[in-house]
Amino acid sequence: MRFPYTRIDASLPPRPYLNIFLRSGFATTSPVYGLVDSGADYSIFPASFAETLKLNLADGKPWNFRGTTGSLQIAYLFPVEMSVWDADNQALAFRFETEVSFCDDFKFPGGALLGQAGFLSHFKSTFEQPENFFDLEPYDPSSVVAREVRLDPDATKQCVSGLVVVSHLIHPQRKSHALGVVDSPVVSVHPIRNFLQLA
């Protein structure tokens, strides 16, 4: 999937930003601009996002890092679910389980950094800087959020774990069927094989 670069300052080159949000349990952050940064070991978010997700920093796995200022900072890694909006911010493009870090004294233009482990590790990425775009293709096709919804009354039934199957969905890349489940705040899509494993 192709994403345009974003210019935030007329005197600086445009940058590869994405709009993403995080979820942990039933808590969800607002979407935020995240810079795709191949120079960052992990993704980093301000600690206030951990508060929204009801995560206690002291419970995370500590990770020390240095920015270009040379000062030592500490961030804490947590497992979360990350969702990525498409280029037009009209629909979700990708959703996957991953690990990101939160840091008390982290401030960054836009909001967050999307680094190597936990973000770029999920995608084959190509940057076309002269053309102002970048491409992300997920290694795991199940992280692609299906878009084309075809209601099928026969598929509506109670499922294990109390989830309700609401429709068949056509997977946009694999052209195969998946199932959608009511999973507030958005409809979540899982490959059929996941349900078979549950059953």
């Binding site: 890092f65 911010n89 102002n132």
Partner: protein
């Protein structure tokens, strides 16, 4: 491909503050000192669909970020 351009909407924004932008990045729907304050400000104005943005210092670039 033309880059998305946030320069107009960010003009005059205070460095360090959090903005709640419209999903197309053309309007400021809320603002605050924290992401939570910006989100709340937008919601109180009746806007649910927002993207948060932390305003950087003007004309300051970035280099490799977390080594």
């Amino acid at each position: 491909m033309q880059p998305k351009d946030l320069t107009s909407v960010l003009k005059g924004a205070k460095p360090g503050e959090w903005l709640a932008l419209s999903m197309d990045g053309t309007r400021i729907l809320g603002r605050g000192d924290t992401p939570q304050q910006a989100t709340k400000s937008a919601k109180e104005a009746g806007h649910d669909k927002i993207v948060l943005f932390n305003v950087p210092l003007p004309t300051v670039g970035i280099a490799a970020s977390a080594l």
